[in-house]
Amino acid sequence: MAATRSTAIEAIAEIPDGATIMVGGFGLVGAPLTLIDALVEHSTATDLTIISNNTGEAGRGLGLLLRQGRIKKAIASFFTSNPEAVEAAMTGAIDYELLPQGTLAEAIRAGGAGIGGFYTPVGARTELAKGHEERIIDGVPHILQAPLRADVSLVYATWGDELGNLRYRRTAQNFNPAMASAGALTIAEVAEIRPVDGFAPEDVHTPHLYVNRLVQSTLSLADVQGAGA
């Protein structure tokens, strides 16, 4: 099905309390900044589970959602860049799950691809193996990782077309393609929305069948670059 054009506020209004939300980006690069801003300013959805590499930064991006007390649980590989998220996790103010970055990415990919989990050697026999089944494969300890799926995925692409096909730029790609595939409702924020056939079919990174809502980006990285990204 083709994506529906929508404003950021309309799209965000579809997120209910208790939703699990994936948010693309490596730090702020490739993060859907317009959608995050709408979620912070125009939604009251709370008890959210956020799956994102970094859980934002102190007072910026998803960091604002944390300050509003709307995050129940965060799944990430690196909380350190947001000291407030570290504090919230360590004091039990939020639940958290720390995953190696590649395991996080693959769990999201698996979620979107209908895979019931996978065995990885990464993290085996470390503290992060707790709660994961271990199995020896070819003599090497592996641990079982479950797939990750979301009620809503918020992604960013530099280019898109009116059907919802997406194309990413440089290192702004990161978690976005996998997250676009793993959301029951995927909302894509796009900087440049082209007519259908605006780029060659083989240049599409995320085919439109993954994308449900298409939102014009109005907030760029340059707009939000304050003290260090």
Partner: protein, 212 residues
């Protein structure tokens, strides 16, 4: 050279060979490109999704959507390839990255590495560290020989939470090069005028001496 970090980076640069795909960690490893022999052409990989990482951009030429894993701006080398996180870590886990050079809090005499967590600290993140040391074909650790408090970092067994077991192949400090040969730690080289006694005093791991 007086900066210990430059001594380490310069020696680590000599470990890299033309044609290798190399992932450099934050800190000392990031200084390595400045010490590479101009005849050595390597391909730098960064786990946030780029093969063919170039030097830092000049002021005014920063592309906000082009960063390394330390979130610092970079440039593109000719033939660079950009990809998503799942693909990037598939490359790493799949053994397609030849060498990773990264720092450590502790390395054990059997090649275990601890570099992601200090209990009771203010950090909570593993990032790509476990993926990189588990998946790369060769793991080189660059680290100062001791902690700021003067405690050895090359130890009989790690006391800090492990990143991975038995993966480290080379350890380079400001005073020495150690190699894991089979299951044995071997001191192969003294650096920057250090003596074997200096190295012995700052190392609690057991090792054999075979200076080349």
């Amino acid at each position: 050279m007086t900066d210990a970090r430059d001594v380490i980076a310069a020696r680590a640069a000599q470990e890299l060979h033309s044609g290798e795909v190399v992932n450099l960690g934050i800190g000392i490893p990031n200084r390595i490109p400045g010490f590479l022999d101009p005849d050595v052409e390597i391909f730098l990989h960064t786990e946030n999704g780029l093969l063919g990482v170039g030097p830092r951009p000049a002021e005014g030429e920063v592309d906000l959507e082009l960063i390394d894993a330390g979130k610092k701006p970079v440039t593109l080398m000719p033939g660079a390839a950009a990809f998503d996180s799942a693909s990037s870590f598939a490359m790493i886990r799949g053994g397609h990255v030849d060498t990773v050079v990264l720092g450590a809090l502790e390395v054990s005499e059997t090649g275990d590495i601890a570099n992601w967590m200090i209990p009771g600290g203010k950090a909570l993140g593993v990032g790509g560290a476990m993926d990189l040391v588990t998946g790369a074909k060769r793991v080189i650790v660059t680290m100062t020989a001791t902690t700021p408090a003067g405690e050895p970092k090359l130890v009989p067994a790690c006391t800090l939470p492990l990143t991975a077991s038995g993966v480290v192949k080379v350890v380079i400090t400001e005073h020495a090069v150690f190699r894991l040969v089979g299951n044995e730690l071997v001191l192969t080289e003294l650096l920057d005028g250090a003596t074997a006694e200096t190295v012995a005093a700052e190392t609690s791991a057991r090792y054999r001496v075979a200076l080349s």
